[in-house]
Subunit: 406 residues, 2 copies
């Protein structure tokens, strides 16, 4: 029996409330001057006080040594093994820009690239054209028509865009199509090749679109061609409500996180603004209506990506000062404070390091350590554990699982 099947079998109704507070990219690395991580350097009296009454541990998002993208990292927090439930790149890209993806859509990531007179690729990223150029080219590409499907082209950033085909009534598309990006220069882009019979018609449509796009782009060097990869459809994940028996509300301000939450079947709650205070207002307004709240904090990750140690520290302090007390004020039954992955300012990127995690409930055995940081979490009684265990643990502590076996 898989762990999701187990949850599906065991969950029972209850009146309890779970809050999953996710500081994106929370984990860090020591800065040279004093050997402290962002979380260690931050002044966090509320988290420290909560830690004294909680269990601590380090969550592994995907697998040891593996740096996760935001999609897989959040799937793991939501209880879905990201190695088993593979959400295609095309879908993640569409969700990342807030595109309203429908279940039958086929999405692919696109790159503008440069080709020479022979049609061989000379630059796979078209000289990293500015986003404004991308937007102008995308506007031109939107004129392309294909028989029987709706076509969407959306700018992502610099040389990257998203292509989405949407079937019309009665038609169905297939996404099992090989990448057209040959992953090297000196050769032409590949044609879209179907990898199963159900995707052949779709591959033909994609090749038709590529041919029209090439004619439009031919005089727009360095972006005079394109490649497509990560063709994918909504993977049809087993719905969160069915698996965990929770009415789940997602509170986030960035498209990617709202997208992944929607993909598992959470209700994405409207946030009036972009601040943590705005998100808290949403939490309070919907407190009575949901059993589980995913509360996402984006700016820890953004600061880490920018290599800005102090700003990341300040975001953590803001969460400590404002978000933690406000959540506790609502009197949840279970509160987990964690991140989806580490984003050390030192690395200016996501990293493979496991994520400091705190679990508080009325029925836990506190580790009795009044500090919340990577170091003490490494000695906590949750151990080093897969992030997919957070939801099952939360359900157990919320008294929402019946006994397994007699």
């Amino acid at each position: 029996m898989t762990h999701l099947d187990l949850m599906k079998t065991l969950h029972i109704p209850a009146q309890t409330k779970i809050v999953h507070l996710v500081m994106d990219g929370l984990g860090g690395l020591p800065r040279p001057e004093d050997g402290k991580t962002e979380l260690e350097a931050a002044r966090t009296p509320n988290l420290d006080e909560l830690a004294a009454r909680s269990q601590l541990g380090l969550a592994v998002p995907v697998a040891p040594g593996v740096t996760p993208g935001s999609g897989p990292a959040h799937l793991a927090l939501f209880g879905y093994d990201p190695l088993r439930y593979d959400v295609g790149r095309g879908v993640l890209s569409a969700l990342g820009i807030g595109f309203d993806l429908q279940p039958q859509d086929v999405a692919a990531r696109g790159n503008f690239c440069s080709v020479d007179a022979q049609g061989n690729i000379t630059d796979r990223r078209a000289g990293r054209i500015p986003t404004e150029t991308n937007e102008k080219l995308v506007a031109l590409l939107r004129d392309i028509q294909l028989p029987g499907v709706q076509v969407f082209v959306e700018t992502v950033k610099e040389y990257r865009f998203v292509l989405v085909l949407r079937p019309t009534e009665g038609q169905s598309l297939g996404a099992n199509i090989a990448d057209t990006d040959p992953q090297r220069t000196g050769v032409p882009p590949l044609p879209a090749r179907a990898l199963d019979a159900d995707s052949e018609a779709t591959a033909a449509l994609v090749n038709d679109w590529i041919a029209q796009a090439r004619r439009i782009l031919q005089d727009h060097h360095p972006a005079n061609a394109l490649t497509l990869r990560g063709f994918a459809q909504d993977p049809g994940l087993p719905p969160f409500a069915e698996i965990f028996g929770l009415r789940a509300g997602a509170i986030a301000t960035y498209p990617m996180y709202k997208g992944v939450a929607r993909l598992v079947g959470m209700e994405v709650l409207p946030v009036d603004g972009e601040t943590l205070e705005d998100e808290l207002e949403t939490l309070r307004r919907h407190w009575a209506d949901f059993d589980y709240f995913f509360f996402h904090v984006k700016k820890t990750d953004s600061a880490g990506e920018d290599g800005d140690f102090v700003r990341k520290m300040e975001v953590i302090e803001h969460v400590d000062a404002v978000v933690v007390p406000a959540i506790l004020e609502l009197d949840p039954d279970v509160l987990i404070v964690t991140g989806d992955h580490s984003t050390p300012a030192l690395l200016k990127s996501h990293s493979w390091h496991p994520v400091p995690t705190l679990l508080w409930s009325r029925f836990n055995r506190p580790d009795g350590i009044a500090i919340f940081n990577e170091r003490v979490c490494g000695r906590g009684s949750l151990g080093v554990f897969p992030a997919t265990a957070e939801l099952p643990l939360a359900l157990g502590h919320a008294r929402r699982l019946t006994k397994y076996g007699a």
Copy 2:
């Protein structure tokens, strides 16, 4: 290769002795007055002294957040993944009352229930009739005859009973039969429906039995009908001796634990009485004859289930004072002290919390902490580990596994 296959491949003969001391429901939760668990509050000088020379950790019986029943929890201690080796409810119920289940028997859990004049269920538990009423009704049901099979009906408690069909020479039964309990009131019990061809004849026999039972019960409101669920046969687990290469003796006083030990192929040793001293006498008497002893202490769990913190504490103190020194006196090579699950007095029930565990052997690396409780086990060098790892660890420490690979 599964872990059981690995053990089967690697085990080698040795003269060493392993004792697995299982205090049922050992793990607890802090009591409000002083924040101590049962194990923390208990005075345990012998366990503490042993802990100083041992490794500590927290065992997860089934999966994070999941509260195990006694059957799955013990399977895990015996090295069998309880999610892979599913022992049906009917079998566990029969074992739980000490019924001498045979490999071909089909067992089901029964509930007496109440139905109205239309045959619709009005109370799924027949008003929780007293056990004495159950016994009288079971005596009546024992008159039912079925062609070609032996039928056993046994009282469990209150509204619960067990039904067992035993095939006669040459006949074979199937247990893939859906529950007749519709899990709600206002509808009639369902007929027994075979879920595969091999179970059709058995389902017909069950329906015949149900029809006769309904006629007998019709004037015995509130117990004027019944439902059956968890149809199951002995799952035919891979035998303990083959997997681990151990002659295993089980010392327990309650039917459920003897039953599960027998299910994996251990020899259940007779205990003359019900006290811990009686169990120790059995251990001493059979010391020369076995390589592995499962030594079960029931009363930690019973006290926890009763919500009696102090009594649970006293049972632990009794084990510390009497059982631990007596086992050490026998000079085992490996001693594991653990529980099958947690039963905090605070919750008056089994719980999902991992179980404090101590492993002593001549060849371990002691953590050097002279305390045995949940909190220090949460920092121990065994980490937070699956309970199924205890047998392999014991074998390793007993020098009973050869090298894997060259």
